[in-house]
């Protein structure tokens, strides 16, 4: 069984920005004399609290894990878990976006498809393509 659980830096930064904005907004309700007297510790606390909340929020709701083996794969994101078997799909293709993000496109029998992102998990797309093609045969 292979597991890929890379930290998505973009998502983590977005979470941090959101919580930082929220905590700074809440800090504005502090009395002015306290705010100005303890400015540096308050700013330090804002950063630390934002980082903690961002990490916890990211781990619970945004962190994506890919697990696969010869039979199928599953993607977990927060509480949602999607499982598929390779044999359910009739063919696979390797696609890429303009930004050079690779994905594996799995076609079902009715010609609808599921895209499995590969660059996100730092998987070598070409070797993965060959490997999954082997599992599907």
């Amino acid at each position: 069984m292979n597991k890929f659980a890379n930290i998505a830096k973009n998502e983590l930064i977005k979470c941090f920005t959101f919580f930082y904005a929220l905590i700074v907004g809440l800090s504005l309700f502090l009395p002015v004399n306290i705010f100005t007297t303890y400015l540096v510790p308050i700013m330090g606390m804002q950063v630390v609290l934002s980082a903690i909340f961002a990490w916890l929020f990211y781990k619970k709701y945004k962190h994506t894990i890919l697990i696969y083996d010869e039979k199928g794969f599953s993607i977990e994101r927060g509480r949602t878990k999607i499982k598929h078997k390779w044999k359910k799909f009739r063919k696979i293709t390797l696609g890429r976006t303009e930004k050079l993000d690779y994905f594996l496109r799995l076609y079902r029998k009715d010609d609808t498809y599921v895209d499995l992102p590969l660059t996100k998990f730092k998987i070598n797309p070409f070797k993965f393509f060959v490997e999954i093609d082997r599992y599907m045969k």
Binding site: T93, L94, L100, F128
Partner: protein, 170 residues
């Protein structure tokens, strides 16, 4: 990831596929989707990559591309062959590729061959092929020799086949 046991030809083919999709192929066209064991009129090609010449990007690139770049479909076929593959086999496949190109309005097509031994009839056929829209490039994976059609596409397509140099242990 499970260790793969690819032959030398398969490794060169995979490296070339990478070159087509994200290496020097990007200067030629946007090759965006690759198919493995692509079947076409009774023939099976190891890989088939389709794309177009409409380069997308951010706003300015997109505007430039919209007004200047032509919108052509392009295709690239990759095939693993052996020493028995000769003139007859090549011409049959070229006929099939030409029909496909007409059907899908593919303006330019590259046909890459990966062989363990290139025979003389194949070599001569490739060098004397005359087609403005189709380039055939063949690599002998044992010797590293590249044979290509004399057209501009053929000379340009030579760079799409890349052999990774194996690191020597010191």
């Amino acid at each position: 990831m499970r260790k793969n046991s690819l032959s030398k030809r398969e490794k060169v083919m995979l490296t070339s596929l990478e070159e087509v999709m994200s290496g020097r192929g990007r200067y030629i066209a946007e090759f965006s989707e690759a198919f493995k064991d692509f079947k076409l009129n009774g023939f099976t090609f190891s890989y088939f990559v389709k794309g177009n010449t409409f380069i997308k990007g951010f706003f300015l690139s997109r505007m430039f591309s919209y007004f200047v770049n032509p919108r052509y479909n392009v295709a690239c076929f990759l095939l693993k062959t052996d020493k028995k593959f000769g003139k007859k086999h090549l011409l049959r496949r070229i006929r099939t590729i030409n029909k496909y190109a007409k059907k899908t309005n593919s303006r330019y097509v590259w046909f890459l061959l990966f062989s363990s031994h290139v025979n003389d009839s194949l070599r001569e056929t490739i060098k004397t092929l005359d087609a403005y829209n189709l380039a055939v490039i063949c690599i002998d994976t044992e010797t590293g020799e590249k044979i290509h059609t004399v057209s501009f596409l053929g000379r340009q397509g030579k760079s799409l086949i890349r052999v990774k140099k194996e690191k020597k242990n010191e």
